[in-house]
Subunit: 377 residues, 2 copies
Amino acid sequence: MNISGEQAVLDAHYMARALELAAKGRFSTHPNPRVGCVIVRDGQVVGEGWHVRAGEPHAEVHALRAAGANARGATAYVTLEPCSHHGRTPPCADALVDAGVARVVAAMQDPNPEVAGRGLQRLAQAGIVTHSGVMEQEARALNRGFLKRMEHGLPFVRVKLAMSLDGRTAMASGESQWITGPAARSAVQRLRAEASVVLTGADTVLADNARLTVRAEELGLDAEQTALAMSRPPLRVLIDGRLRVPLDAPFFKAGPALVATCAAVEEQYANGPECLIVPGADGQVDLRRLLSELAARGVNEVLVEAGPRLAGAFAQQGLVDEYQIFVAGKFLGSSARPLLDWPLAQMREAPQLKIIEMRAVGDDWRVIAMPLPAASV
Amino acid sequence: MNISGEQAVLDAHYMARALELAAKGRFSTHPNPRVGCVIVRDGQVVGEGWHVRAGEPHAEVHALRAAGANARGATAYVTLEPCSHHGRTPPCADALVDAGVARVVAAMQDPNPEVAGRGLQRLAQAGIVTHSGVMEQEARALNRGFLKRMEHGLPFVRVKLAMSLDGRTAMASGESQWITGPAARSAVQRLRAEASVVLTGADTVLADNARLTVRAEELGLDAEQTALAMSRPPLRVLIDGRLRVPLDAPFFKAGPALVATCAAVEEQYANGPECLIVPGADGQVDLRRLLSELAARGVNEVLVEAGPRLAGAFAQQGLVDEYQIFVAGKFLGSSARPLLDWPLAQMREAPQLKIIEMRAVGDDWRVIAMPLPAASV
């Protein structure tokens, strides 16, 4: 291996560590991205840091503080291009320059239009060697919501479903509780904690008395991560076009929530939760406008936990980025309810998905799948 | 580790090799079990063998021939207790005694009532040290069909299904071709080749012009295994209660077949395929009697490839030992056909399954699941 080959191996090694640090912010950084930083001098890690919470120091600042004078002449690995703008904290690019860092390796450019290459540019202008694109795919995966919001003005939408092995979500009668076991429920708790918004529909809230909260004891996380998750619970959003859910429902009693509805009837919710009026053409809530509004409020990731009708509407409108389907080892039979309310007549209309993984979660299994664009069918 | 601990490690090591050899007979030994044998002297493998085909020498005979005089004082590892009876070949127990083998390790006793411990007994009486139960679970897995037939008088029944991620097998119109891709189809070819019988229903044969044959070029096996598979294709069994499938259907033109039907109407099949009359109480073919009859003819493994109705009937009657479900990355939607025709009203009626594995097969995924007995629900 030549020297540049060896450097590439080392760069990937330290970036992997920076990504590991960044992931510690999984439950707490939003609306900011998850970012980690490692500072290396003479083959030694001299400082590490990760962004914990919006308004608090960025990953680079933590790492530079830990490194102190050792940052001089060192290489800084950051999972996202250092910022160049004055937000709630001063620009990290300046801090790296001031610390005398010799080289900065970024996993990816920051798509935030306030940065977008200017961070690396400022470093280069100060004589620092810069390099971007190391483990970019992994870095992008960690901040899919932030990236989608910056690049498309929409949050990343993950739809969680629970079904039997024959693709059914409930009996015809609606009976459905406890299809999956405790390990799957704990995984769903972590999905909720990761999300900026947990979104549901009136059917689910009325039928199951669902609250869609995060419960510390079910997260299955260590104390630090549990505390971070509980310090920043996701906003619960209820889609209820006709305001059918009464204010004394457990959903509303469980904490703050936002209601997306169609008509200007929120006077019946006087002193109740905030309402967002987003009527669609078909008398239903306009889901795309709702998502766009949520993105404008800084929402990176939305977890949809809804019945076949609402989940089917998101699917049909092409608004889903990822499905996480928990599969229980049972058959509910041919008269049970479908996975998604989405009638199709011909095979060529059938939406294509890429199944990313299937993995055991306790006695159940989790399938992760991504819709493929219609063009690739 | 003490000496007996080391011996256990070595025993498992050589038995694993014997199982690997046994598996080479996967496509050809039926109605006999798959058996492998390794002969070891002074830490050297001096002979190996596996049973290829009924009527041909057993694994032990091949291995003893290869070992020659080196078998004296050696240990023989066999994946199934050596036989003690005169079948189409002389008893292997006698051959091992004659060769002067000092120790025989078997993975499991032979459940064949003609053997059932008597093989090991004969060896012990001749002064040979015998040991049984090494890697028994793996050995049983390799011969599940043979064991089920010996122990229960029924074949092992594997149901192959192909579905979309939302659990559907075809559009409401019946449109269904090519749900899954070439790698999944090749895996199905290997399932057919392994089976003693491929069983289907009139619906499938009429709707899809299905032939259910094994095609050498789609097996994806090496030349030796392909030749073995093609030399012993599975018997194709058609369940056709009312003899709806005409004799000029591609199914019948593709080779010998057996028809299971209800009424004594086989005169319309004069000069046609063999018919088996197994009427059930409900005007349908009695599936359990059919399976029992197949077992009596030496059928170890049945692969069911049928539509939701017939597959659902096997499922409802508790006749399924394993499901292999090929899952395509698409949604067919809520009006498409179910996985199994099996209407259930209440969750407590829902049959439980243990999902054994989910694994990628090309662009599709394969789910292997086993029904759990109702008692464990």
